[in-house]
Symmetry: C2
Subunit: 143 residues, 2 copies
């Protein structure tokens, strides 16, 4: 399968959440670095390491058949030459669910590889409270 | 106050956990980048942004008077030129507590600044299970 080249960390992030909403396992894994060092921690979950564990967990999540709609808020970025760190609140709506849930805080880390920018870490945890209203602070890029 | 220069991400990490065990607020904050973009998520906690919020939360934690002993396990490192990502299990023993608790999964991100390596992100969450036994996989460094 020919893999998409993401030329910026933001492109990779957009593809990550698109794959999540579509429950598309191939698209999801094409965002991740093909590396035994990748790490994924789902909310309340264990630490998954390497492509096999990360793929197996996404397969299980997508097999539930639930459709998720995700709204991202309060995005912050620390973009470096070889790595980029994005922090974001995920407001997740589950199809058929009437309850709203607290947002998820996600730390997403991307690395520049020979095949463009790829995700290397996704660490997510449930926030005990909604984020404060958007402030005047704009996302910044550090070099 | 003269601040220590950490010449490697590992030096900064060692200082981070030493400050945590000593409940030393100045030492703790000397590990962090002096930047409004730093992010700290304590286990089950909200997202703290910037030096003021991060410092206030550590002050509150240290004010509890509890002494923590922390054993680190299953360390993985993705070290780049400007950023380094460390993932680790924290086995935390609280003085006076008889219950053992599940370990904490921490994603620690360091950035090379004009004043050496500094922490820019600490994202921690409780693991629902202990990690698997140490495997043959040694921590690796990617460049």
């Amino acid at each position: 399968m020919e893999r998409t080249i993401y030329t910026t960390p933001q492109d990779a992030e957009t593809a990550f959440y698109a794959a999540l909403e579509k429950a598309d396992l191939d698209a999801m894994m094409s965002v991740w670095a093909d590396d035994e060092e990748i790490i994924c921690v789902h909310p309340g979950g264990v630490r998954l390491c390497g492509v096999d564990q990360v793929r197996a967990a996404w397969r299980q999540i997508f097999a539930s058949g639930q459709t998720l709609r995700i709204r991202l808020r309060h995005h912050q970025a620390l973009n470096g030459v070889t790595h980029a760190v994005h922090s974001v609140f995920e407001e997740i709506a589950v199809s058929g669910a009437t309850q709203t849930q607290n947002p998820v805080i996600a730390t997403n880390i991307y690395m520049r590889t020979g095949n463009g920018w790829r995700m290397v870490v996704h660490h997510a945890s449930i926030s005990p409270a909604p984020p404060e209203p958007d402030t005047k602070r704009a996302p910044k890029t550090l070099h």
